[in-house]
């Protein structure tokens, strides 16, 4: 929880406290609202200030409020938001060290022309900034490679408080560094509970006023995002979804756009955010693809931190080649198509829904742990990334009609499956390979399907190749001739399920014939010997 406290510490009561460091207008701001004093804001943390403003009418809809943050010749437009009770806020994640100044603008005189400044200092230890796309892969803003090994808990923030805490505890020990999660509560098979908080004001009859977001709802969501950030987990935040009984999936366009702007103003300053415009966008019958094109533009225009942007589909792919999409977020297991897609789209690919380890009565929710593990390997071998989910019913509960099972995929809680441990094993192999190569991408050359499976992607051997990883999938050769690149290599047999690494005696060069296990789902790693 260290990081949550740190974030709170960085919040400023009303206006920028570093006015002493600012130019002319800072004096004015200090005079008007001199509250918390802060020496500096570390890079990629949240700088926030609040101002009092109009509380009558509908401030959400009627009051425009923003700030321009300036560093040298650079100016960043930062939308603000109404936080209820006459309180207006600006949040900003500085992405460069130096002396930032700011000035507010508003159609309300009370909120307009306020200025201030603060020093952005070096990032805290272990903080690398938001994740960005780098070619076909990802890296933090400081260049540190980021390899997404994600999981899925769509509605965990809408569960009882104790369960949410348990989810965070589970994630602390789990191998996942990204989580797909919804802003809106979810109404779906196995997901019927009402949320404790609603995203919009509701009348006594439960009718939502989409023009009035509920600040308490978003404050809670932000705490969860900050909790994930403290664990080093990226929040792949799903802005719309079709599993709905409250009307959030069928709001009018004007309400959609206002909701988006509100979320962006509140949440963009959290460095661990990825925007997922929707889960299964094509199942949202009230919306068109053009609506989602517009949503992408709203996100682009209103996110000062330019977080990753994608959208997830069910049957009909969004065109991931469009320039405003930073990476693909797929629902399929067509790993053999990945090479072509990478070439076409020239951006990273996350296979974000490949079915879940589980045993329930739906095809998307009952694959074995072995199959889930296999999909992670196939995804990595294809130069892509894969997302986990778990839908394991208790064997007895399945025939209890009154049972309300807690499923990780929807509710969070605990992980009971056998795949996470194996996914963690693979993640470590991938991360180790990056350390070995000092690269911003995995330091091994994936050899399947690229090479071993004879697919169209040529072997990307170079004399700098640090590691080569083969995965044999259903294939069970008892020997294979490996064409090694220039240099000398050690070799290890890897059993992805047993998580065993068995070094082979010897140092190898050139065309290398090796005896293999002769059973399926095995791997082999070569490491360059210096």
């Amino acid at each position: 929880m260290a990081q949550i406290d740190r974030r709170k510490m960085l919040k400023l009561g009303t206006a920028g406290s570093l006015a002493a460091l600012a130019s002319t207008s800072a004096q004015h701001l200090m005079a008007e609202a001199p509250e918390t004093a802060r020496a500096a804001v570390p890079q990629w943390e949240v700088f926030e200030f609040a101002l009092p403003g109009p509380a009558s009418g509908n401030p959400f809809a009627e009051v425009q409020f923003s700030a321009a943050f300036t560093l040298g010749n650079r100016s960043v437009y930062v939308p603000g938001f109404y936080d209820g009770e006459g309180r207006y806020k600006i949040r900003f994640m500085p992405d460069a060290e130096g002396m930032w100044s700011y000035a507010t603008a508003s159609n309300s005189p009370a909120l307009s022309g306020k200025t201030g400044a603060f020093a952005c200092i070096a990032p805290l230890a272990g903080v690398h900034g938001p994740v960005c796309a780098r070619g076909h892969h990802f890296a933090y803003a400081d260049g540190t490679p980021f390899f997404p090994f994600g999981t899925t808990c769509y509605a965990w923030v809408h569960q009882p408080e104790e369960l949410q805490k348990q989810t965070l505890e589970t994630l602390r020990a789990a191998p996942f560094n990204k989580i797909r999660m919804c802003v809106f509560p979810k109404s779906y098979e196995y997901n019927h509970n009402e949320p404790a908080l609603y995203p919009f004001a509701r009348d006594a009859a439960g009718k939502s006023d989409f023009s009035r977001p509920n600040p308490a709802f978003f404050e809670h969501l932000e705490q969860r995002i900050a909790g994930l950030c403290a664990l080093g987990i990226e929040a792949d935040l799903i802005l719309f979804h079709p599993y709905d009984r409250w009307g959030y999936a069928t709001m009018p366009a004007e309400a959609d756009d206002r909701y988006l702007r509100y979320v962006l103003a509140r949440i963009s300053a959290y460095r661990n955010i990825w925007w997922s415009l929707a889960n299964e966008y094509d199942l949202m019958r009230a919306k068109t693809t053009q609506d989602f094109d517009r949503f992408f533009h709203i996100v682009e225009e209103n996110d000062p931190s330019a977080h990753l942007r994608s959208v997830h589909y069910c049957n009909t792919m969004y065109d991931y080649g469009r320039p405003w999409v930073t990476h693909a977020s797929l629902q399929n297991s067509e790993f053999e198509s990945a090479a072509g897609w990478l070439q076409d789209w020239r951006k990273p690919i996350c296979f974000d829904e490949v079915m879940y380890e589980g045993n329930l009565n739906r095809r998307w929710g009952n694959i074995s742990a072995e199959e889930m593990t296999r999909k992670f390997w196939l995804g990595v071998m294809a130069g892509c990334y894969v997302t986990h989910g778990e839908t394991l019913l208790d064997a007895d509960g399945a025939f209890d009609e009154n049972a309300t099972p807690t499923l990780w995929w929807a509710h969070g809680g605990t992980l009971r499956g056998a795949s996470p441990q194996r996914i963690g094993f693979l993640r470590k192999l991938v991360e180790d390979s990056a350390v070995a190569s000092g690269s911003t991408r995995a330091g091994f050359e994936a050899q399947s399907p690229a090479y071993y499976l004879n697919a169209s992607v040529p072997l990307r051997e170079t004399k700098d190749t640090a590691q080569i990883l083969y995965y044999f999938d259903v294939h069970q050769p008892i020997f294979y001739e490996f064409p090694l690149p220039e240099g000398r290599f050690s070799a290890e047999l890897i059993d992805p399920w047993e998580m065993k690494i068995t070094p082979l005696p010897g140092i190898f060069s050139g065309k290398t014939k090796l005896k293999l296990a002769g059973r399926p789902y095995q791997a082999l790693r070569f490491r360059r010997v210096l």
Copy 2:
């Protein structure tokens, strides 16, 4: 061997022996060549006669010889062939009972205008005729369903005699009723031996004369085809292939066409023939798709028995929708595409190369027995058929550079894999279902991927559905709600690998929730209770 002897018995020394049963010209024939006396030819057996003719020049190229076989108002054109040593033959498989008469035609007076007749009588016990396409499935000519469960021994007829005998013995006990095999010898990895016989005359330097087929070669091939017939096995005979060092893959068009006509004249009368125009036709760089179009037409025009016709590809599919193709012969495992292909092509689909159970150093030759078994189930569930192959190296032999392993896929011999037994188990399920429904197609409605996997093919339930078979593949639900069609059903859990059928207590109707194994690769069968 009973059937081989029977076939020999039906051969006539020179001309038709049933002349006594024939009309006017029969008297002439009897007078000219009265040799063997035969009472009758059972339907779908081989009727053959030989005539002496010119032996000088190149009779293969220069002598035209054919016969017209007549039954009532129907006349069938039957090409004849030169069998060497001044001997010319006509072979014919009568497909209808009754009194057939025939008359020869030739550009050689010695072979022209010979006439005869014979009675075609009821088929021998257990003989159902050649296999034909019936909608998306296959049936023998008499309507008995035929479900291909094939295997692959490309070059078995080119191995030492003892090995060929062993292959036939293995097939006698194996679960396969179709075999893919080449006319030409094969030159490929693990296949380097010279054949005992060559298809064409060769000079001392080993140069072939493609205009002179070698009758001994074809006589031997025919014996093998007859041997398969005696075992009830269809010979899916591959007419061209690219694995060649003798020049058979690069003959000029004229030689190709003459070779085809020769094969057709000799072999069409064997009822267990399927024509596979090529293996991997698209790897035959010296030929174009148009060449294969022409080959199809030559086969159509010269095969009086109209056997099944297809062609097998490597990378580029032949257009199986063309009217002269009777069924698809695929090299892939895209079972999920089968529903669309069935709809487009409106003919049966054989997944004839889905990789082989094995452990050698090629991706096509090293899948596990479990994966091979799974592919058979997926194929059947998709309403299609799958072909087996085995490439199991001896674990020690793999590192012996001088070893020349005997691999079933190329050489025949014995089967050592674990999949054939499971394939036999599935074949029995499929054949039993046809018996249960009295149908010309499998009597179960396949439920995966069609229904269980939510694919686009609707559940084909009717009130006559005799059996419903579900296969869960990688899915492991602990329960599932099965929507049964009208009527009452018993249910059995099926373990395809353990080959165990476990009846569930009770009789089921309507929406039926059942507890399942909760592990992958399981199946379930419903059977209508009358």
